[in-house]
């Protein structure tokens, strides 16, 4: 059985930030201001990272790629 007084590890803090830490360990945060501060700071960073936007390449990207891809012909040859 895990000691309720044991500070959270960095892995556990990451789990907590993702809402995945088992309740038994998460209860430690209610009593430990040290872990709570650390967990809050960690959660802010993780949330900021998770919310980063995805970028798209310029239009026609797929066509430019496919122009260089060799496609096998029925005879077994490869053609670009």
């Amino acid at each position: 059985m895990t000691n309720l007084l044991m500070h959270l590890t960095t892995d556990e803090i990451e789990l907590w930030a993702q809402g995945l830490l088992p309740a038994a360990r998460a209860m430690h945060l209610a009593d430990c201001s040290l872990c709570r501060v650390e967990a809050d700071r960690e959660r802010k960073i993780i949330l900021a990272l998770v919310q980063l936007p995805r970028f798209a390449p310029a239009a026609g990207f797929a066509n430019r790629v496919m122009a260089h891809v060799k496609i096998p012909t029925p005879s077994g040859d490869w053609t670009a």
Binding site: V50, Q51, L52, F55, A62, V65
Partner: protein
């Protein structure tokens, strides 16, 4: 290809901080993947394979050009304001209140700047973990690093990001 186009391009863009170069590297990656599909070993996840090729392309480039700490204001080769604008990292729009949007944009810009200051190895790990949602094990397989090293890099990267963001607030 559509499935990986944005994730792969985003990773490369954040690694090299130059849109045109990221597009070249993404194109190189997809061509390698599609022309070398017969060498794909199904015991590995396809996403690990394709991200490994992309990451290697970015790291090789960074090593050649020493572009590991770059500005958000554009590619290092950009000289004129137009070039800087054209090559700068463009943050996406989201439907938020004006205040949320300003705060979110500020944090988004700050975190992009902070990511740019990380070592390339840390940057790959943190982007794969928190932007692409890879598990530690998947990152280890993708980057061919021991699991413990991946964990260490991610924890250090988050600590450094926190440090950069806290410096900015002071």
């Amino acid at each position: 290809m559509r499935r990986y186009e944005r994730p792969l391009f985003s990773l490369l863009y954040r690694m090299v901080r130059d849109r045109a170069l990221a597009e070249d590297l993404a194109q190189e990656t997809f061509i390698k993947v599609l022309n070398g599909i017969r060498s794909y070993r199904p015991e590995f996840k396809f996403s690990s394979w394709i991200f490994k090729i992309a990451n290697n392309a970015a790291i090789d480039h960074l090593r050649r050009r020493s572009l590991d700490t770059l500005s958000l204001d554009g590619a290092p080769s950009a000289v004129s304001p137009e070039e800087m604008r054209a090559t700068s990292l463009q943050l996406g729009d989201r439907a938020e209140s004006p205040l949320d949007e300003v705060q979110s944009r500020e944090l988004g810009t700050a975190i992009e700047r902070a990511i740019a200051r990380l070592r390339p190895e840390y940057r790959s790990c943190i982007l794969l973990r928190h932007v692409e949602g890879f598990s530690y094990e998947e990152i280890a397989a993708t980057l061919e690093l021991p699991l413990g090293t991946v964990k260490t890099y991610i924890h250090r990267a988050r600590n450094e990001l926190r440090g950069y963001l806290e410096d900015r607030r002071e």
